[in-house]
């Protein structure tokens, strides 16, 4: 009970949150004998330009939470507001990157055409579309791969394509579900640095769900720590590490170690 109310702490920080989650709960098969409570009560805010990671023990309903935040899943109770408006469907100014690029990219379309999909949906003209495709592919450090198919690229490059596609429509917020869990360790570091650069360059708000505590500490301004299922917010941890961060410097700093240890304690005791 000594735990501070997370919603109060967050609203002090930001006057006008991009994302606001209030007493969100999600039960599957609600009202039946098989009712299964995945999320008990989760509240937090994300300020404009902030990088927030959500961590929790495995099976903590992280993916369920992300689906609720993106508008793909309707919560059983509580509310999610994106830029002040309660969520009904996936908001226009929000983009989502899923973990498994091999499933989220369309293998029947070339890289260019994959990235073009959200632009076509928005009715962007051909010339503007092509210019924008070049821009976002450049932003994710992809060279001349537009005519290739996703499956002709390495895993790391495919996830870059998925990120480029998510950025194509200049979203205000990027929602990422374990985006680097399907690539090898070296690629993972590269992609982590990439997303930090992209975020700095485009001044975008990022919410990233991960089970990797090191990754969360390295990337985030704040970390929302969930308990095991049914999940609640255990603690919201500030990450006051200075930016820009570097894999070697940041990860070997004392402050990083302390935060990491604190989070490990939270996650291991709650599962």
């Amino acid at each position: 009970m000594a735990r501070p109310d997370p919603s109060v702490a967050a609203s002090e920080r930001a006057g006008d949150p991009v994302l606001s989650v209030r007493t969100l709960a999600k039960a599957y098969d609600a009202g039946t004998s098989r009712e299964n409570l995945a999320i008990a009560e989760v509240s937090f805010d994300v300020a404009k330009g902030e990088f927030v990671c959500v961590v929790g023990p495995s099976g903590a309903g992280k993916t369920t939470l992300l689906r609720c935040l993106s508008g793909l899943l309707v919560p059983t109770s509580g509310e999610v507001r994106f830029e002040g408006t309660p969520l009904r469907a996936v908001p226009d100014r929000l983009s989502v990157v899923f973990q498994d690029y091999s499933r989220s990219l369309f293998p029947w379309l070339t890289v260019n055409r994959n990235v073009a999909v959200p632009l076509r949906v928005a009715g962007v003209g051909k010339q503007q579309r092509e210019a924008r495709i070049q821009e976002v592919l450049h932003a994710v450090r992809l060279g001349d791969v537009g005519r290739s198919y996703p499956w002709q690229l390495s895993g790391g490059m495919q996830q870059r394509v998925a990120i480029a596609r998510a950025l194509a429509q200049q979203p205000d917020m990027l929602l990422m579900d374990e985006p680097f869990a399907s690539v090898d360790a070296q690629t993972r570091f590269d992609l982590e640095d990439l997303i930090l650069e992209v975020r700095r360059e485009l001044d975008i708000t990022v919410v990233l769900v991960t089970h990797d505590i090191d990754e969360a500490v390295y990337l985030a301004d704040r970390i929302v720590v969930l308990t095991g299922a049914p999940s609640r917010v255990q603690e919201i941890v500030d990450v006051p590490l200075e930016r820009p961060r570097t894999q070697l410097g940041t990860r070997s700093s004392e402050a990083f170690g302390r935060l990491r240890r604190h989070l490990m304690e939270l996650v291991t005791t709650s599962s």
Binding site: R67, S70, L72, A89, V90, D92, S95, V96, F98, D100, R103, S104, F106, P107, W108, L109, V117, P118, V121, A122, Y149, W151, Q152, R165
Partner: protein
Amino acid sequence: MTGAVALRWVWSNVWRLWFSAAILVLWWVLSADSTSTFFPPLQRILERLHALWIVGDARRELWSSLGHFAVGYTVAGLVGVGVGALLWKFRRIGDAVSPVLYFVYVIPTAALLPAIVAIMGIGSAMKITIIVLAAVWPTMLNTLDGMRGVDPLKLDTAKVLHMSALRTVRTVVVPAAMPQIMAGLRHSLQVAVIMMVVSELIASQSGIGFFILEAQQRFAITEMWTGIIVLALVGSVLTVVFIAVERVVLAWYIGARAVERKG
């Protein structure tokens, strides 16, 4: 380097063809002195084939058959994909309609022939109806199955990209189901060829099936064989054309699978 590649290409094609060539030679040699009424020498069959189908006007029969086939197969393909997609889209209606569809599906179309002839007579309409009725199923059921099997994450992605329902079907569902739709269309192709011939075997005055049956009844066994050979050639050409189309339509799928296999 390129020389070695060319050599390998030549060799692989030689390997592909030697068995067929051997069978042909064997047939030619073993039948050369045949006096059997039922198995005339291959040489005579080929001479008759040339006289009837290339010089003569038996081709008329072929065009008549292919006309029915083309219309019937096209309609079967369109209806199969269309109804399959509707059954996918309107799942609850599909649940109610499916038992009836499966019931009709298990009736051998050949068994319906007398009824269709009684209702529609013996014209082109009857033949096309028979082709459609038999060939529609593989495409329809494969379309339905393929669309139901679309990865739910792909549908989530469609939502996340704000696609309309129509665009989702066009950009995601149809391409994702395309490998299975093509498998269905290929099966339908074979069924359509079979039914094209079957529809000409009863109460018909034209078509290649009629030609074969009529030759047999006149005891013109050599002519009968020419019809069978032409039919086999037509079936082969249709299959080759289909495979060529499939390689273009499913280029992405074939490529992705090759990458997957390499690991």
